[in-house]
């Protein structure tokens, strides 16, 4: 898994690619929680378009990010969900708890 951050005005977009599983989910969790808990960035956006696989530990990391965002009053937005990611989120029955946008333009819109 690769993750990189783009810092925009009062928001950060994380571009994530590859597999999010037991071995890689800590690499997602750590920068997400830092961005929310330490930096308190008002809007944190995850670009999941290039994610090839996600398992329960990856979904758990997203849930942790969402909870951290609620704790600090930030928005936590997902976009670019491909079939694989959408299927797993739907299977988790947690898809409804996330703010999901179709594309980056929507996610960064005022």
């Amino acid at each position: 898994m690769q993750i990189s951050a783009r810092h925009l005005d009062k928001m950060t977009v994380f571009d994530i690619s590859g597999d999010i599983d037991l071995s890689t989910s800590p690499e997602l969790r750590k920068p997400l929680l830092h961005e929310l808990r330490e930096l308190r960035t008002p809007r944190v956006i995850l670009n999941l378009r290039a994610v090839r696989y996600i398992d329960s530990s990856g979904v758990a990391s997203l849930v942790e990010g969402l909870k951290a965002s609620r704790d600090v009053g930030s928005r936590f937005i997902l976009f670019g969900l491909n079939t694989t990611v959408r299927e797993v989120l739907q299977l988790s029955k947690l898809v409804r708890i996330f703010e999901i946008c179709e594309n980056e333009e929507q996610a960064v819109a005022p």
Binding site: D21, L22, D55, L91
Partner: protein
């Protein structure tokens, strides 16, 4: 007549970095058996979650512990006839499974963790846990395509 044929056997170590290798091999096996793209992803997810559970819970994150995975093509009884299925058996020598935890949890309880077992149950047609001779066994069955009875029947 032999109603069980071995497709693949894997001897693994409880290293999370091997998971991607298993997913790659299993995805190709599922495709060769005729599963649709969506069903291939489901089979891969179910087995990946089963291995993740073994690594995290049975072996408490200890690497280099043994895991065996057997893949068979089997026939399972259905209305007096046999239907073809993929059987996956995972064996480990870790801590005995806590049966109280096997029921999972309410998904409405939004928090990290606890999803793995839910994914296994959702992606497989049969899920059986047992513990024999100091080994945990998880048996998963996924009925092959064009074998499933119509929904609601």
């Amino acid at each position: 007549m032999d109603r069980r044929s071995l497709l693949l056997r894997m001897e693994l170590r409880s290293n999370p970095e091997t998971l991607c290798v298993v997913r790659g091999a299993l995805g190709q096996l599922a495709e060769r058996l005729g599963f649709s793209e969506s069903e291939c992803r489901a089979v891969v997810l179910g087995v990946d979650e089963a291995l993740t559970n073994i690594i995290r819970h049975a072996y408490a994150g200890q690497p280099e512990q043994p895991i065996e995975v057997w893949f068979h093509r089997i026939q399972v009884p259905s209305r007096g006839a046999g239907i073809e299925a993929l059987e996956i058996i995972l064996l480990d020598q870790g801590k005995k499974l806590d049966e109280a935890k096997l029921s999972g949890r309410a998904l409405e309880d939004v928090r990290p963790g606890g999803l793995g077992l839910h994914f296994i149950r959702e992606t497989m047609d049969e899920v059986e846990f047992s513990h024999t001779d100091g080994r945990n066994q998880l048996r998963l069955v996924k009925i092959l395509p064009a074998q499933k009875p119509p929904a609601g029947s």
